[in-house]
Structures are given as C-alpha cells and as structure tokens.
C-alpha cells in the first residue's frame, strides 16, 4: 500500500490529509503536557510505598517541611473531598492512609522550588510501616482463604457465560492452559501536568495529558470537594496513551498542591515512577477446552479465565466482560461454558490497555484453534475458514452479530499477501535472531509461519452511554470545530478537519483548544473516537450545512432540499445555481452543537446473556519468524494482515495504526513483560522492560478490507485495537511451528524455547 502517494486533494475524507500538528511536532514546537510552564511554578513529587502490603503506623512530614525550598507536604488527611477515586468503582485512595495495597502506592506529595529539592523532601518524610504478607496469587483471592485486602473484597467481578447444552462433548476435544504476562503501555510522553490555582483561590485549571478530560474532571472535583465548574481541564499535548491514561495518576495530587500553595504546580513522572503511576494490562491465566465435530466444526467452548486486577478495581470489571464475551473468537459456536474472574491482589493495579481483555482471550482461543486443526488433520487456515463467523450468527452471549463481519475475507486476503523471501545463506547479522549481538548461527535458524484471527468490540459496553459532543461554526468560508476528544497521537485532529472539509465544502478548518469548555467526547479508547467523535463532528457539520442551505435557498429562491456540496461550492442539483461556500457564508455565522450517541446496550445477566456490545471489527494476521532454536532467540520477519475497517478515511493514518498496533502485539509476543516478585516490580525501566526497536520491526504487508459499516456514522469502524490483538498468537504459533514447543505463555522467553 503506497499511502504517501494517494490523493491529498483538499484533504477531504478518503485522502491522506496531513495532520495539523505535524509541523509543530517535527520542529519541537508542539507543547506536550511536560512542556507546560508558568511563572513562579513549583515542582510536585510523590512519595510511594516500597511495600506491596503494609499498615501505615505513622507519617512524619516535619523533616521535609524543614527543608529550604519546600512549600507543602500533603497526605491523606489533607484531601478535602472524597478520599478515593476510580473509573468504575471509587476504591483507590488519593493517598494511602491506614494501609498500602501495592508497591508504589502514593502516600504523600510535596511541592518544592526544584525537582531535586522535591526529591530530597520525599527522602525526609518518615513513614513507619508494619509490613503485611502480600496477596499476590490470583487463585488465593478467589479461594477466599486470604483476608480481604480491601473493604470491597478480593473478587472485583465474576461473570459466567452459560449457553446451550452444558454436557455436550465433541468428537474432538482439545484443551490447554494459557498465561499472559503483564504488559505496560509504555507511552513515550511521561505523565505530566501543570495546575494553576484561580486568582480567587476557589478553583483550579489543569493542563494534563489524559484520554478523557471530563471523566478526570469529575473525579478530581469530587476529591477536591469542589463543584465541577471550579475544575477546568485543557488537554496538554499527549505523548501516546494506549489505555494507560484512562485512570487518574497525578491529577488530584497536582491540583491539591496548587490549591494548598496558591502557586502553579508542575508534576511529571520519570520513567520508573511511570511504571508505578499507571495501570497495566491484566496478566491472565486461562484454561480452555474446545469441542468440535470430526470435520473441525466448532461446537462448544469451555473456558475459565482469571485476570489479576492488582490492588484497585480501575476498569477490571469491564476488561473481564470483554475477555469472557470474546472467548469464542471470530468463530461460530453455539454452546459455551465460561467462568471469568477479575480479582484484587497486592500486585500493581491493572486496567485498560489497547485490546482491553480481548488480547488475553485471543491468545488462548487462537492457540486452541491450532490444536484443533492438528487434531482434525486440517491446516491452520482451513480450520479458521471452516468456522469463520458471519453477519447474522449468534454469539455466545446470545447477541446477534449485526456488524459487517468479513472474517472469511480477512483470512483469505491475508493468505493472498506475499510471503517474504527465504533467509539467505549468508544473511547480514542484523537480520537474524540476536541481531547486533552476533550470537546466532545461520545453521541453527529455523523459519516458522503462524496464524491469528480476532474479533474486537467497538465502543463501551453494558449499557454505558459513552456519547461524544462536537461544535461547528461556519463563518466567511472558514469552519471552526470544538470538541473535548483527547488527541493522543491517533490523528483525530486531522480526521475532524477532513470531515468538515467534506461535509461543508471548506478548505480552512480551525480547531479550538481541546478542553472541558464543551461537553464530553468520552474516552479516546475502545477504538471509538472515529465512530463517536467522528459522528459528533459529522453531525455538527451537517446541522451547519442545513442552516447554510436554508440561507442559500432563501436568497436564491430554490428548495433547500435540492442543494448539495460539490467540492467547495453549494450547487443546485436540479438547476444551474452554483455559489462558493465562502461567498454563501460571507458575513454570516452558523454555529451548531451535536451529540452522537451509539445505540443502547444491555448488561449481561447471570448467565452472561445479553446484547452487551455495540459493534465489532475483525482482523487476521499471518506471522513469519526466524528462530535460533539453540539460543531461543526470535526475529519476526514479516506480518501480513487484512483488517476489516469499514472504510478507510485517511490511508496514511490507517496504515500507521495498523503498523503501530502490530509492533505492540509483537512486544507482548516476545519481549514485553513487567516481571513481579512477591508484588514488587523487578524491571521498571526501559533498560529492563524491553520495547521493540527499529531493528525488531517486521516487514508489514497490509490489506484494508473496506465494507462500509451501516451503523457507523462515516461507514468506518474503529481501527486502533484490532492490529495488536491476533498478531501475538500468530507470532507464537509461528515460533511453535519452527520449534515444535508448546509455548503456552506470552511473552515467549528464550528459556521457554530452549527448555520448554
């Protein structure tokens, strides 16, 4: 796909319009939240618990306050409003007071004149802990044998799915346990914010990198004990998110320090603190048993899935729902027995990360499909084609699949993409496993090919109305858009301009600052902003266009229903009138606001039945790997993918989402894991938490499957999450093929390959 050469004419929908923040970003002029600065600002810093579980006996802050340059030290007793926050359950303390439940939990915060003074102040705070045994095994949380570590209990949510004959046994039965390690979002732009107290002292303004301004605003205001309008948020430039900025991190601390000192407060985490300061992808243990007819037709899935939510709930209950409802994969299956738990432990809290529960489910169901293929004597492609889900099929929740569901086409188009050249006899060392380490020998390298296919829900589920708001103003041929949609890198800012150009026939589209000055746009997550905020911008632009057409119609005595936009003109579709939008809107201003809501969904009942999801997208991945079987080193050579996208609105941006997601799925497959030892992180740094580099990036070949989705405002499905989901099992399947090892956990480590 040669995205860069596709048309950019006018930057309308379907073109590779260039993002408006591109030039400022390449010149270093784009203001990230960490670049925010104010006269007389102080630096905030956070004291964190070194223990995964302990009682706080006493906190003595006098030593910190005695340091020259320290303006404030705050602890739980200084929180004026609600003492806890949380996205779904308000169960996480702003500061731990009586007990700490994970290593890294905030205990106090300071404001000082220099980051180094702040660090010294943290060192001078004396906290006396009575260390308690940590609950670190999810099965202990389920068993009830461990005293609850939180008043809300050790099980955050349990959800079963019961459908069809519960005693059915297939002609062919395959089963296995699968483990998924804890992955980090590892966005590059660390958590950062600048809080400015009002002159009157009654409120606060926060510039912050987040995924959802209005949810932050609600939670911050509650903790500060302020009316919501006293807390105003503006999006500071966001250096990536991937789910890791959906929860509160430093927001409340930063605002509270600003209100306490009456001075602007800048807070920013370093990389190590970032690992403690945000939630991670849930580690999972999954048992699955597939029942099929002898010809490979899938009949029943059984699964038990346990997600370790860590110390606080975050979005664990929603992640669990995604995991259990996606256990069948993108395959028709009439019977199911699924039991899922999201548990609380003294491990670091887990919540949203790109793929949101489906990543874990997919690794299990795709590993199972390969086992089923082998048991039935089919190849991995044929077993998937045979069972591919179609529009109209009923899911294991009883919900009818009414999204466009081109699963078979995803598989066939992926299979049709070219395979890479064989590894040459004398390859450059950089191209083989181990790379510049020069460790691998050509003779020990074996190539493997593997498959993964996935289904992913779009938008929020279970009755949540995650609407989006946008405003459009047209004056003198220039459109101005306003929305609170968090631009985290995905490119909504260019998509919004493309929509306005297309709907209104304007060339110039200005964007207001992204802030809480307008209604909520919901979260930049769940692959939802193109659909939801895109729908809102489209709706607002259409309302403005109606007003414009009414005006043109009245001026020229034609029926407004006959008017259309053609390029940058208003045209009478049944006559000769043609007037430019600039002329037609000269001296006028049309201003409209629109809220886009998706259709209603339902909560699951106790048997996991209900129409809980809005819509779905699909993708297939084929991975080719080279493995040094002696050293256990892997080089992912190529990933081929065909993705169900509905409609491509910006080819360049779409390709970037696909390639970026694949790199993250590769990371989970063979590199990325937060390693825990009795509740403590062993590798909270970029030296020890390995991320894919340019030399790890595989060749990616892409086919975009465009079958417009009737439910979607622009015909386009969300495309952010699917790329990172089934690529992980595809890579592991390829390593299995190359090595013959079972490999039931990700990331696959060298030891798993050599000794597994």
């Amino acid at each position: 796909m040669n995205a860069t050469t596709s048309t950019r004419t006018r930057g309308a929908l379907g073109s590779s319009a260039l993002r408006p923040d591109g030039i400022p970003k390449v010149q270093g002029r784009f203001a990230f939240s960490s670049d925010a600065w104010a006269d007389s600002m102080l630096w905030g810093a956070t004291l964190r618990s070194p223990h995964p579980h302990a009682r706080i006996v006493s906190i003595d802050v006098s030593g910190a306050l005695a340091i020259n340059g320290v303006s404030a030290v705050i602890t739980a007793k200084d929180v004026p409003g609600q003492l806890t926050y949380g996205l779904i359950a308000s169960d996480q303390p702003v500061f731990a007071s009586e007990v700490v439940r994970y290593a890294g939990e905030p205990v106090a915060a300071v404001a000082a004149d220099h980051p180094e003074t702040a660090r010294r102040a943290l060192d001078a705070i004396r906290v006396d802990y009575e260390v308690l045994p940590p609950l670190v095994d999810a099965e202990d949380a389920i068993s009830g044998s461990f005293t609850p570590i939180h008043p809300d209990g050790n099980v955050i949510r349990r959800q079963r799915i019961i459908r069809g004959d519960q005693s059915f046994v297939g002609d062919v039965v395959v089963e296995g346990y699968y483990d998924v390690g804890m992955q980090d979002q590892a966005f590059l732009g660390l958590e950062a914010a600048l809080a400015l107290p009002d002159d009157a002292g009654g409120g606060v303004e926060l510039f912050v990198a987040t995924q959802w301004l209005h949810e932050d605003q609600k939670q911050i205001a509650a903790c500060l004990g302020l009316p919501i309008e006293k807390v105003r948020l503006t999006l500071g430039g966001v250096g990536g998110a991937f789910g890791g900025r959906e929860d509160i991190s430093l927001q409340v601390h930063c605002c509270l320090l600003a209100l306490t000192t009456g001075r602007p407060i800048k807070m920013q985490y370093g990389r190590e603190e970032s690992f403690f300061g945000h939630i991670h992808r849930h580690p999972a243990r999954i048992f699955m048993r597939h029942h099929a007819d002898r010809d490979g037709t899938l009949r029943r899935v059984e699964a038990r899935i346990v997600l370790d939510g860590g110390a606080y709930a975050s979005t664990s209950s929603a992640v669990l729902i995604n995991a259990v409802t996606h256990m069948q994969g993108p395959y028709k299956c009439e019977m199911a027995t699924v039991d899922g738990y999201a548990v609380r432990s003294n491990n670091p809290p887990c919540g949203a990360m790109r793929g949101f529960g489906v990543v874990q489910a997919c690794f299990a169901h795709e590993s199972q499909m390969d086992k089923l293929a082998a048991a039935c004597g089919l190849d991995p492609v044929d077993i998937r084609l045979k069972n591919a889900m179609r529009t109209g099929d009923r899911l294991i929740t009883g919900q009818v699949m009414d999204s466009v569901a081109p699963v078979e086409r995803c598989i066939r188009e992926t299979a049709a993409l070219p395979l890479p050249e064989p590894l040459p006899a004398d390859p450059d060392p950089l191209l083989i496993p181990g790379g510049a380490g020069l460790t691998a020998r050509r003779g020990n390298i074996t190539r493997g090919i593997g498959w993964g296919v996935s289904i992913k829900n779009l938008m929020y589920s279970e009755g949540f109305d995650d609407y989006a708001t946008a405003r459009c103003r047209l004056a003198n041929g220039v459109a101005t858009l306003q929305f609170a949609t968090a631009e985290v890198g995905q490119g909504f800012v260019v998509l919004a301009q493309q929509i306005a150009r297309t709907v209104l026939g304007v060339d110039t589209v200005l964007l207001e600052p992204i802030s809480t000055a307008i209604g909520s746009a919901g979260s930049t997550s769940a692959s939802r902003q193109t659909w939801m905020s895109g729908g809102a911008v489209d709706g607002a632009c259409r309302l403005v266009r109606e007003r414009l057409f009414e005006h043109v119609a009245a001026t020229h005595h034609v029926d407004p229903l006959r008017l259309v936009i053609d390029g940058t003109d208003v045209v009478d579709s049944m006559g000769t009138l043609r007037v430019t939008v600039a002329e037609a809107s000269h001296g006028l201003a049309f201003d409209e606001t629109f809220e886009h809501h998706h259709r209603e969904t339902e909560e699951l009942d106790e048997n996991g039945q209900g129409n809980c999801h809005v819509a779905f997208a699909f993708v297939a991945h084929r991975a080719v790997v080279d493995v040094d079987t002696e050293l256990g080193l892997v080089k992912v050579v190529q990933v081929a993918t065909a993705q169900d996208v509905g409609r491509v609105l910006n080819p360049l941006a779409a390709l970037g989402q696909v390639e970026g997601g694949i790199a993250q799925g590769l990371g989970l497959a063979v590199m990325e894991e937060i390693v825990l030892e009795n509740g403590r992180m062993r590798n909270p740094s970029f030296t020890d938490y390995l991320l894919p580099t340019a030399l790890d990036a595989p060749d990616v070949v892409v086919s975009m499957i465009e079958e417009p989705e009737p439910q979607a405002p622009l015909g386009a499905k969300g495309i952010g999450e699917p790329p990172c989901i089934s690529v992980t099992p595809a890579i592991v399947a390829a390593i299995r093929q190359a090595t013959g090892k079972e490999l039931s956990r990700v990331p696959v480590r060298p030891l798993d390959i050599v000794f597994g």
Partner: protein, 158 residues
C-alpha cells in the same frame, strides 16, 4: 555560572545546581523544550542532540561538562523557521503520531544523512535503533527517512 553554546547561540546558565543534566538545562533553563525526556537512562533516544558532531542522549550528559561543546537541538536544525527536508518528510510520510519521540528522531536522522547520504534500509534501521517509537511501529518512519534520502539524492543529481 557557566556558558553553553546551543544552536550557535551563547547562553549563560546562572544559579544552576551542578548535577543538572543537559536535557534539564535545555528544557528548563534555556527555554528549549523541543528536546524530550522519556527514560532518563539513554535507552529511548527522545533526548537526542548533536554535540560536537556526535549524536548523544542529553539526559546522560551533565550540562556543566558541556561548556566547550557545540550543541545542536531540534530547534536549531532550521534557522529560518521553515521545516527541514527531514522534518517535512516525517510529516508527509506519516512518521508522526503522538510526536514525542519525533524531535530525537529528527536529530538522529539529520545526523545520519549528514554522515551517510545514501543509507540503505539496514543502515537506516541501525542508525535509529536507539530511538524508541511506541506509536508507529517504525514503518512510516522508515518511509520518511527514505523519502528524505531520495530527495537529497535527486537534488544532488541535478
């Protein structure tokens, strides 16, 4: 007090703690926030600047030791405010998403193309393998570097 030469301009650094990194001084004292910090240990390349002709991680350089060096940051690549060829290529080829790794990459790619005007695919990958990007998966970044390389080559052929 010490002095630093950044982007050809002589700066006075007053009242600074001697332990401050070059990254911190550039961002917080000299008003040059284009250089980003993301790992504080030289792993991610977000803070790449050119010091006496070498690309370095400014988070690992003590500012007070850089007094005699000629330092170039992302802000100094273009003196007239117009984007450089590499900067323009990154935008046009889709090499920018969140943009946090971008300034470091831009400096690294300028450094690469200034030393080696004709890097092949592997040389490009190796040259930027110290710059982590979490958004793009690198595909469009490779395309951006190739675009800048090819444009320079075409200019020279004329």
């Amino acid at each position: 007090m010490y002095r630093l030469t950044v982007n050809g301009i002589d700066h006075e650094v007053k009242d600074a703690w001697a332990g401050e990194s070059l990254l911190y001084v550039l961002r917080e004292r000299l008003g040059l926030p284009g250089t980003k910090g993301a790992c504080e240990q030289g792993e991610c390349g977000s803070c790449t600047v050119v010091m006496d002709g070498e690309a370095v991680c400014s988070c690992l350089v003590m500012a007070a030791t850089a007094v005699d060096a000629d330092i170039t940051t992302v802000e100094g690549l273009s003196l007239d405010g117009e984007p450089t060829d590499v900067q323009q290529s990154f935008v046009e080829a889709g090499g920018v998403q969140c943009g946090f790794c971008t300034p470091g990459l831009i400096v690294a790619v300028h450094h690469l193309l200034d030393r080696n005007p004709n890097p092949d695919e592997l040389a490009i990958k190796e040259a930027i393998s110290g710059n982590i990007c979490r958004c793009t998966g690198y595909g469009r970044i490779f395309a951006a570097v190739e675009l800048a390389r090819d444009q320079r080559r075409a200019m020279q052929a004329k």
